[in-house]
């Protein structure tokens, strides 16, 4: 390196500046090259990771399902990334999660697992999960500069929200009975203690007329080789395009769950491990003492367990699980519930005191004499702005659409909800009349 470049540059300048120009180009090439290499690395690393689909021996869908059923992995810890894009309309001022969380609202500072886990229903989240046997689990939702942890150790369930420094206490069920029950319910009944092979057969039989189940290639997930199980509804009218479940080739643990709507685009629901370890997590992981100074909320009657499962087992969703789950969620809204159809195109019909009544109620009260109870004035305008007006032999109503779930609310307050397109909803409403 010349000691005094300043004079040298001047000297070269006198020579005609050509060499200076070249040197300039070379030197400026360095930052450009660095940026290029960095961009290429960032761009190519995921591409390489994707291209490196592992070579695994062929396996039939039945064997793969059997593998999942036979999987007896009890201990794992890892990081899960979930992203949910249901296409729900944006509500102003964070009303979205709050409104869904049945509004126990104390300014959003609740450590109630129910409220917290509702937040997972939209957007992208990082979760850390750990499990050791059926009785000890931990789920932590990693937020920006905050964290929500749900720890279960036997009968003790603790939730801790660092954002509001609140701890939530509940007593969980002693044994694993409800959890097992949940999983069984997702499968056809009468499958007490069958072998995984038989179980897989039953699942495929049951899926037969409504669903196609195939093995579709392999993938590398969280550094592990995995088979991809592709589940596709056969029924026309379903809004679900496909469900893809990546299953660890080694031990049959589902590693990633992807649900793509028929309309295409980004997955509506994606949950998968970004890192996973099947070693026994440290015992301290499941130990929890409420921190000094934290506010403690007692919430024994809350259905902690269900949500615990919902979050912990997200990637483990079984083929039938999702539509069923949707119905369960809707069922909670009360009123007379009817399920029309079966499989993917099942439609829930909620009558009478359903949530529709609440919204349309204003109109109904006002026009008590009118039989149909058509919403009038502002209420009608509000409905028109939210949903699309449709008519059929059932009368008229509004269709509210998201990417996955459509709902038809007729003017007399009956609500039809399902993961089906609007034609199917109208047909169902017509048929129900």
């Amino acid at each position: 390196m010349p000691r005094n470049e300043a004079s040298r540059v001047t000297g070269e300048w006198d020579d005609g500046g050509k060499r200076t120009g070249r040197r300039k180009v070379i030197r400026y090439g360095v930052p450009v090259a660095v940026a290029g290499v960095a961009a290429a690395t960032i761009g190519l690393v995921p591409a390489f990771a994707g291209a490196g689909d592992p070579d695994l021996p062929e396996i039939s869908a039945q064997d793969l399902i059997a593998k999942v059923a036979a999987s007896d992995v009890q201990q794992l810890s890892g990081t899960v990334r979930t992203s949910t894009d249901l296409g729900l309309p944006e509500l102003p001022g964070g009303m979205g999660a709050g409104a869904l969380g049945s509004g126990q609202g104390k300014g959003g500072a609740s450590a109630d697992p129910k409220d917290k886990l509702m937040e997972l229903a939209s957007g992208t989240h990082t979760l850390r999960v750990a499990a050791d046997g059926p009785d000890r689990q931990r789920v932590s939702v990693i937020d920006k500069a905050a964290e929500y942890s749900l720890v279960r150790d036997g009968a003790k369930v603790w939730g801790y929200d660092s954002g509001s420094n609140t701890a939530f206490r509940a007593t969980g069920p002693e044994s694993d009975a409800p959890k097992k029950g949940d999983q069984r319910r997702a499968m056809p009944k009468g499958l007490g203690d069958v072998t995984p092979q038989e179980l897989a057969e039953h699942v495929l039989d049951a899926a037969g007329d409504t669903t196609s189940v195939t093995v579709d290639g392999t993938a590398k997930i969280a550094g592990r080789d995995a088979y991809q199980l592709l589940v596709k509804p056969k029924q026309a009218g379903s809004t679900v395009g496909s469900v893809r479940i990546a299953v660890d080739a080694d031990n049959g643990v589902p590693l990633r769950f992807t649900l793509t709507p028929k309309s295409g685009g980004a997955p509506a629901v994606e949950a998968g491990f970004t890192s996973v370890d099947f070693a026994k997590p440290a015992a301290s992981t499941f130990a929890f003492d409420p921190p000094k100074g934290a506010k403690i909320v007692d919430g024994d009657r809350v259905r902690t367990q269900r949500h615990d499962d919902a979050a912990g087992d997200l990637p483990k969703g079984l083929p039938g699980g999702l539509p069923q789950g949707l119905h369960e969620a809707r069922a909670g809204d009360g009123g007379g519930l009817d399920v029309i159809g079966h499989g993917w195109t099942a439609i829930a019909k909620i009558e009478g005191e359903g949530e529709g009544e609440g919204k349309a109620g204003e109109g109904k009260e006002a026009a008590a004499g009118q039989k149909a109870g058509v919403p009038t004035g502002d209420a009608a305008k509000f409905l028109d702005s939210m949903g699309e007006k449709v008519t059929g032999s059932f009368g008229s109503g509004h269709v509210f659409s998201t990417r996955l779930v459509n709902a038809l609310m007729t003017d007399d307050g009956t609500v039809y909800v399902g993961a089906v397109d609007r034609q199917s909803l109208i047909k169902a409403a017509n048929a129900a009349k």
């Binding site: 360095v30 930052p31 920006k144």
Partner: protein, 293 residues
Amino acid sequence: MSRAETVVGAAEVRVSRGPSPLWTLGLLRNEIGMTFRRRRTLVLLAVLALVPVLVGIAIRVQTEDGGARGGPAFISLVTNNGLFLVFTSLAATLPVFLPMALGVVAGDAIAGEAGAGTLRYLLVAPAGRTRLLLVKYASTLVFCLVATLVVATSALAVGALLFGLGEVTLLSGTTVPLAEGLLRALAVAGVVALSLIGVAALGLFVSTLTGSGIAAMAMTVGVVITLQILNTIPQLHAVQPYLFPHYWLSFADLLRDPVYWDDIRRNLGLQAVYALVFGSAAWARFTTRDITA
């Protein structure tokens, strides 16, 4: 004027062909001394030290009637443990105050010399432009560290005074002894300082472009603020992971149990890339341009 000293010193060392590492060290020491003797730098540091005081008093006043809610990160945890004031203050200063102070120092590094007409004298010394640039960058980095530590120390003192110290509850709800909490606080300060190396390189590059120190400072700070605004626009979601402020708040992940490294690693990697790109751009510019001032 210490510039004159440098020139004299340089003349003495001219005997050997390449300047010895010791000489570079001397140059660095000189440069750091220059930076921290400036009244402007001292005022900047004083302002930074004042931020935790204001935050601490604000929390104290607010929590006298019920708990604190909203506001910067960790604010609800401060009342239980003054140590959290360190994290709150760093979270509050990292987006604006720290980059602004850094922009002033980094932006002034070359442009200030050029503006004052001292740059050509500095180059007479047998330091070489590359070495001079490295020394300038190193002293800017030292400023990053000192500025962060000033905020942290002031916050710790204010926190201890107003709220007291004690066992630390991590974000995961685990309680650790104060000693470990202090260690984590030190690590947080380190990560915050490292989060600024990208801005420092950017400031240095801008500083080589212009002969006016003020213009360099304004531009550096402007870029930092613009990128942070872009970082909040949801429609730009696809490019945001490549903006250097994107992972700044990831230092909070050091307070989880176990520590969540992913975002911290991404943050540091991103800062390193920015430092390399803008550092080499500054080098390309500085070693090829004509020094007229």
